[in-house]
């Protein structure tokens, strides 16, 4: 469960968003420049709201009135960026293991092999990110975020940098994640078709304001 009620001034641009989401996949929909990435960065703690509160799973991570701002690394979120941002000096297996190591979690080979199978990345484990295709990189980034055992997964246009064929290659994995991984997600996109397939709830943003909120039918 995610509750967001924030305001942020970014130069000329004013962002004001308020919504509460119970859904498995909350779709953040809007044109580019609508403030989607800023909003996700605030949920991640990478950007600090000027005013307002953010609550993840009943845990207040931002409350400007009380001076609360939990740093990103203690929010236990996963973040999949448009550009996968894999660590170039580590191979795929080490990238996947990074979050577990940083959070001091015990090794969980069952979970590890489940995610590796789910995303079909078993054959890539020894490779360096520089030797992967765009689609493979994005699948590894998904696995890396999930294996840190986040309580919320943020996906910022994870298919945005891929061509149509690659998008169709990744979408089924995202659907499987939604149905099998048991982690609530916030999925940012400007693509109606993508959100129709994935989202269970929609937050529509226009020029920094939430214009509608509800089921997938608000996309119509």
């Amino acid at each position: 469960m995610l509750k967001v009620d924030v305001q942020k001034q970014l130069g000329e641009f004013a962002l004001q968003a308020s919504f509460a989401s119970e859904g498995r996949v909350t779709g953040l929909f809007g044109a580019s420049g609508a403030g989607k990435t800023s909003l996700v960065n605030m949920i991640a703690g990478l950007l600090r709201p000027d005013r307002g509160t953010i609550v993840i799973d009943g845990d207040v991570v931002d409350d400007t009135a009380k001076g609360i701002h939990v740093p990103t690394y203690r929010r236990r979120i996963g973040y999949v960026f448009q550009d996968a941002r894999l660590f170039p000096h580590l191979n795929v297996a080490q990238n996947l293991d990074y979050g577990r190591r940083m959070n001091g979690l015990a090794a969980d080979p069952a979970q590890q092999s489940r995610i590796v199978d789910l995303l079909d990345i078993g054959a890539l484990l020894d490779r360096r990110p520089g030797k992967l295709s765009g689609g493979e990189r994005q699948r590894v980034a998904l696995g890396r975020a999930l294996l840190a055992k986040p309580r919320l997964l943020l996906l910022d246009e994870p298919l945005g940098a891929l061509d149509e064929a690659r998008k169709l290659e990744i979408l089924p994995y995202l659907v499987r994640l939604r149905d099998e991984a048991n982690v609530p997600m916030v999925y940012v996109s400007h693509d109606v078709a993508e959100l129709r397939q994935l989202a269970t709830q929609i937050v529509m943003l226009r020029q920094g304001q939430v214009t509608s909120f509800g089921g997938v039918k608000v996309l119509a």
Binding site: F87, H89, R128
Partner: protein
């Protein structure tokens, strides 16, 4: 050209010891400073940057003299260190290492700073979202990606340290076996009537060491590029 004499060996080994110690001690400070200059904005940053580069442009004799005033037995810092910690720099090989460390510091810091500036900061953000506290981000992402730059800086600093002359001779003089490095040995030999052959041998050794260091630094720089591209 005949055999290298024991006296020349002494100078060569002393130079190596002085340069190695100077580089190893200076490196952690160099990394910290490079990070500060690359990543932080603070009041007086440009002044600090200038001070770090000062030994590069100041006459070495001036740097040596300033070291003598500061770290000599009667110097502000030198007196304190000698009285309370028993560390003496004046006319010791440790003083030569200090002089070499200061003189080579700008060359050490520069490649490290450049390689830290070249790191994609979005990778550090990604590390943070995966639960890495700031110091862990530094240890697991920033430093490994900057490592080729760190090594290149160490090699360049080492090469500079091994050739340092002006500041060293001013600060700790030219005492065989204690502070007489290759450079000051060459200086003494070319002032001696039949020192030409010995000077020539040391000159060749200097050239080989400097050339080797430059080639090594270049190699590390190429590795850095490959590493940042994930190959």
């Amino acid at each position: 050209m005949s055999e290298i004499t024991p006296a020349e060996w002494t100078a060569i080994l002393l130079s190596l010891r002085v340069a190695i110690i100077a580089t190893l001690v200076a490196t952690p400070f160099g990394i910290a400073l490079a990070w500060l200059l690359a990543r932080r904005d603070f009041w007086g940053k440009s002044v600090l940057d200038a001070v770090v580069h000062l030994p590069l442009v100041l006459p070495p004799v001036v740097t040596g003299y300033l070291l003598l005033l500061t770290f000599g037995k009667r110097g502000l810092v030198g007196g304190f260190l000698a009285d309370y910690l028993g560390i003496v720099f004046a006319f010791r090989w440790t003083g030569a290492a200090l002089a070499c460390g200061v003189m080579s510091f700008p060359l050490l810091v520069r490649p490290i700073r450049l390689s830290i500036e070249a790191i994609d900061r979005r990778l550090e953000q990604a590390a943070e979202t995966l639960g890495a506290a700031p110091w862990k981000v530094f240890a697991t992402v920033t430093l490994p990606l900057a490592l080729p730059g760190v090594l290149a800086g160490m090699v360049l600093g080492f090469a500079k340290a091994i050739g340092e002359f002006g500041a060293t001779i001013t600060f700790v003089s030219n005492i065989p076996g204690e502070t007489q490095t290759i450079s000051s040995a060459i200086y003494s030999l070319i002032q001696t009537p039949d020192g030409d052959a010995a000077a020539g041998r040391l000159v060749i050794i200097s050239i080989v060491l400097a050339l080797g260091a430059l080639i090594a630094a270049e190699w590390f720089a190429r590795r850095a590029t490959a590493r940042l591209h994930g190959n």
